[in-house]
Symmetry: C2
Subunit: 338 residues, 2 copies
C-alpha cells in the first residue's frame, strides 16, 4: 500500500485492463499447451441470454471477445423474453448434460416472471463458472472447504490487489454493499486473506466514519459517485466496483461511465485506486475465462482418472484398450460429474 | 439495548437458560399439537458419536435430555474410535435413507484419521439440523436464498437478542472469531438483521480499539477470559460463546467453566451480557430441537403434498383411497426428499 498521506500525491492506478490482458494471455497459453498434448481438449462457455437488454448485450459481447481471444469455445443462446421459467430451466438442464460445455452462465437480470434464484440453483455446480450456486458460495464461505469456482468479480479484486503487492493481513477492509454477487463474497475472501473486514450497507449509521477507518475500501452499491474523497483515509486502497452511466452533455454520446466513488476527489486522497472503466470490470471477464479453463481442466483430469481406473479393471478381461480417447469424450459428462 | 454508560451499573443478564426452557416448551407443545392431528408424527434426531471423548459425551447428554423433554425421538449411535472414514460414511448414508430420522448430527471433533468436512458434506442437507452443510451455509450467506436450517448457535444468539428486544439495525456489531460454526454464520445473520458487522480474528491489528466500537460484541474464540472489561464500550451488549474449563482449586472438582470474556470486569461495563454457563450454550441445544421439529414438519408437509397429488392423479382409476397414512409413512423418505 502506498505510504502517501498527502492529498496532493498521485495515487497508484490499479490497472485492471492491463492485468486482465495478462490473465487472458496466460489462459490462452495454458489452453494451447494442453491442446498440444490433448488435441480434443476444448474449453467451452455457454451463455444464455433471455430477451435483448442492451446493457446485457454489451457485457455479453465483452465475454464473447475474451473467449475468442483465449481460445475458449463460446455458445450464445438467445432466448425470447416471453420464455417460461420451465422452458428456461429445461434448457439449463440440457446444457448441464452437454459434456462439451464446461462453463455455463445465465445473464442477469431475467424478466420478472422468472425466478433468478431458481435458475442459478438449477445450473450444475460443476459448471457454475460465475460461482453463484449456493453450494459454491457455501464452500467459499466455510474456511474448511474449497469451492469449485470463486465468483469472478471478488476473485478479480483479490487478484488485482495481489498483483499490485497490496498486503491484506491485519488491514482494515471495509466493504460497502452486501450483494450476493460482490459485497458478501469479497468480504469472505478479504477475511480469508486475514483482513479485518467490516460490511456496510444502506442501514449503516455514520458510514463516513466507518469508511474513514478503511485501509482497503471496496465499494459495490451501484450509486454513481456516492463515496466522496473527503470520506476516505489518506493513502487507502480504493476498489470501485460500480459502473454507472450518467448524463454528460459534453460527450457526443450524451453520457459517460462513472463508478460508485467520486474519482476526481478520491484520487487526490487514495494511495491506490481503480479507474472506471478499466479497473474491476475487465478483471471480472478475465476471471470468467480462467474459471471456464479450470472447469475444462477438471473435466479432463476426471476423464484421465476414469480411464486409468477403467483400464485397470478391464485388463484381466480385454487385451486391447477399449477406452480410446474418442470413446471417452462421449462419456466425459459422467467423468466430469464424478 | 441498555442506555447505561456508567461502569457501576448492573448489566442486564441475557438468560439463555430461561429462554431455552421457553423454546423447549414451545417445541414440545407444537409437537403434541401436531401429534393430536397426525398420530404417527414423531420427530427423530440421530446422533453419531465416534469414540468416547468425555467432553462430547457431556454435550450429547444435554441433547438427549432436551430431546426427551420435548418429545423428540433420540437415536444415539456410538461407533468405535477405530472406525474407518468409509464405514462412518456408510452409516451416515444409511441414516440419510432412514425416513424415520428427520435430523442427523455427527458429534465433532472426529478422530484425526477421519476428514470432518467429508462427513459433514455427506449428511443429506434435508437432515442437516446443525446447519453445517455447504448448501445450507451458502443459502444462509446469500440474501436471495433461504437455508433449510440455520446453524444452532448463531440462530440461538439472534433469538436471545430478539427476545431481549435488543435492536440490531444500524448498530455496530463486532464478531471475534471467524469459525465455520459460529463466527462466520453469526456475522452473516447479524448483517441480515441490518447491523454493520466487523469480523475480527487472530490477525486483527489493534483488536481492543475495534472491540471498543462495538454496540454488540459476539466472542467465539475458545480462549478463557481473553476479552477484558476495559476493552468494552460502556453499555454494549456482550454475547460470550466460549465455554472453557479452567483450574480452580477453590472448587471441589478443581475446575470451573469460564467464557472468552472476563465476566467479572465485563459485567461492570456492559449494558447486557450472557453468563457462562447458562447463556448461549442452552440456546444452542434448544435450537437443535427446534430444527429437528422443523425438519419433521417439512417431511410431513411434503407427505401431505404428495398425498394430494397422488389422490388427484388416481381418482379416475380408483374409487378408494390407496394412500392410507400407514402406506405413506413407509414412503416418507421420497416425500421428504421431494
Amino acid at each position: 500500500m502506498s505510504q502517501c498521506t498527502q492529498r496532493a500525491c498521485m495515487p497508484k492506478i490499479l490497472d485492471g485492463k492491463a492485468l486482465a490482458n495478462e490473465v487472458r494471455k496466460r489462459v490462452k497459453e495454458n489452453i494451447k499447451s494442453t491442446q498440444a498434448k490433448v488435441p480434443d481438449y476444448k474449453p467451452r462457455l455457454a451463455v444464455v441470454q433471455v430477451g435483448t437488454r442492451e446493457d446485457s448485450s454489451v457485457y455479453l459481447r465483452m465475454k464473447q471477445r475474451a473467449a475468442k481471444e483465449t481460445g475458449i469455445g463460446f455458445t450464445l443462446e438467445q432466448l425470447p423474453e416471453s420464455i417460461s421459467e420451465q422452458e428456461l430451466l429445461n434448457r439449463v438442464r440440457e446444457l448441464n448434460e452437454d459434456s462439451k460445455v464446461h462453463g455455463m452462465i445465465v445473464q442477469m437480470p431475467l424478466p420478472p416472471h422468472i425466478n433468478e434464484t431458481t435458475v442459478i440453483e438449477a445450473i450444475d455446480y460443476h459448471k457454475d463458472v460465475d460461482g453463484f450456486h449456493a453450494l459454491n458460495v457455501g464452500k467459499m464461505a466455510k474456511r474448511s472447504t474449497t469451492p469449485l469456482f470463486l465468483p469472478c468479480t471478488p476473485k478479480g479484486i483479490i487478484e488485482l490487489l495481489k498483483a499490485n503487492k497490496i498486503s491484506l493481513s491485519g488491514k482494515n477492509a471495509v466493504v460497502v454493499g452486501r450483494s450476493d454477487i460482490v459485497g458478501f463474497p469479497v468480504a469472505a475472501l478479504l477475511s480469508a486473506e486475514d483482513a479485518t473486514v467490516t460490511i456496510c450497507h444502506s442501514k449503516t449509521e455514520n458510514i463516513k466514519s466507518v469508511i474513514n477507518k478503511a485501509d482497503v475500501l471496496v465499494v459495490a452499491i451501484g450509486q454513481p459517485e456516492f463515496i466522496k474523497g473527503e470520506w476516505i483515509k489518506p493513502g487507502a486502497v480504493v476498489i470501485d466496483v460500480g459502473i454507472n452511466s450518467v448524463t454528460d452533455t459534453s460527450k457526443a454520446s450524451g453520457k459517460r461511465l462513472v463508478g460508485d466513488v467520486e474519482y476526481e476527489t478520491a484520487s487526490k486522497v487514495a494511495g491506490a485506486i481503480t479507474p472506471v472503466p478499466g479497473g474491476v470490470g475487465p478483471m471480472t471477464v478475465a476471471m470468467l475465462m480462467e474459471n471456464t479453463m479450470i472447469s475444462a481442466n477438471r473435466a479432463l483430469e476426471h476423464r484421465n482418472e476414469c480411464q486409468t481406473v477403467c483400464e485397470e479393471r478391464l485388463q484381466p478381461l480385454f487385451s486391447f484398450n477399449l477406452f480410446s480417447k474418442k470413446f471417452l469424450i462421449s462419456t466425459s459428462k459422467e467423468v466430469h460429474k464424478k
